[in-house]
Symmetry: C2
Subunit: 129 residues, 2 copies
DNA sequence: AAAGATATACGAATCGTTTCGTAGAAGTCA
DNA sequence: TGACTTCTACGAAACGATTCGTATATCTTT
């Protein structure tokens, strides 16, 4: 339930590319860092044992698939992170993340909508749901 | 520059309480989890070696102090976290953190101000800087 | 069929973090 | 002074994560 950094890397690939073989995942990972094939293999085997990945035998190959969702995992990691790094204050995190990001107007607008959702009383009415 | 989880715990205490002895830090930590005195001692010694903490001898005691700032450290951790968990998308993180937090109206208002700052063009004018 | 490439399985080395036991120095108290 | 407590220092065990070497099986190619 709490993937390590390496495991997260692999999950990222599987989330992005869908079910994949070890080689495909490894190919992808080696683009950004030095990692041997058997290292990726071992990692994915362990993740399979842990129940993070499913595995289907396709002839000689094994095809792996993420068993936990991206958003769900992100939410979990986020909760943990807020606790450890921001002492539980999600707002502090939000402010700091936002302050240092170069958000596009579109993104800000989306965010604006979300805020209006959260706070139907206050602020100028914008659109009803 | 990249404190571990345990180190972060200790930093939190020092940030909150200011310069402290090992015992004071340990006392605080033991309130929330099982940890021996010498464990805390060793950790703080290592952090001192790493340059995370300064140390002043006060008679028989050592008084430790955080050498890195809270916000600065949080920013650093946050950047890293956005990269690894949210593939660099700070906005995705913000939206998700916000969506799951129960923010008070005051907090939302603060956030609103920040957004208006960031996006002077769009939205209703609110206040000039 | 033989050689070579490519798959999985698995044991083990390595590395960083965390934890604690033990020793010795220094202060406190009866 | 002698027993206790309370510091720091330090070595090393324990643990988890990461990495890779090697063995073996299975294809592919000539």
């Amino acid at each position: 339930m709490k993937p390590t950094e390496s495991e997260l890397e692999i999950l990222q690939v599987l989330w992005a590319k869908g079910p994949s073989t070890v080689r495909q995942v490894n190919e992808h990972l080696s683009q950004t860092r030095d990692i041997g094939y058997t290292t990726t293999l071992k990692l994915m085997q362990i993740m399979h044992e842990k129940g993070l990945l499913s595995r289907t035998e396709e002839g000689r190959y094994h095809i792996y698939q993420a068993l936990i969702g991206e958003e769900e995992t992100q939410q979990h990691l986020l909760d943990r992170f807020v606790d450890t790094a921001f002492r539980g204050s999600a707002m502090k995190l939000v402010m700091q993340a936002l302050g240092n990001s170069k958000a596009t107007p579109q993104e800000l607008e989306e965010l604006q909508k979300l805020i209006n959702h959260l706070n139907p009383e206050n602020n100028e009415p914008d659109e009803r749901l």
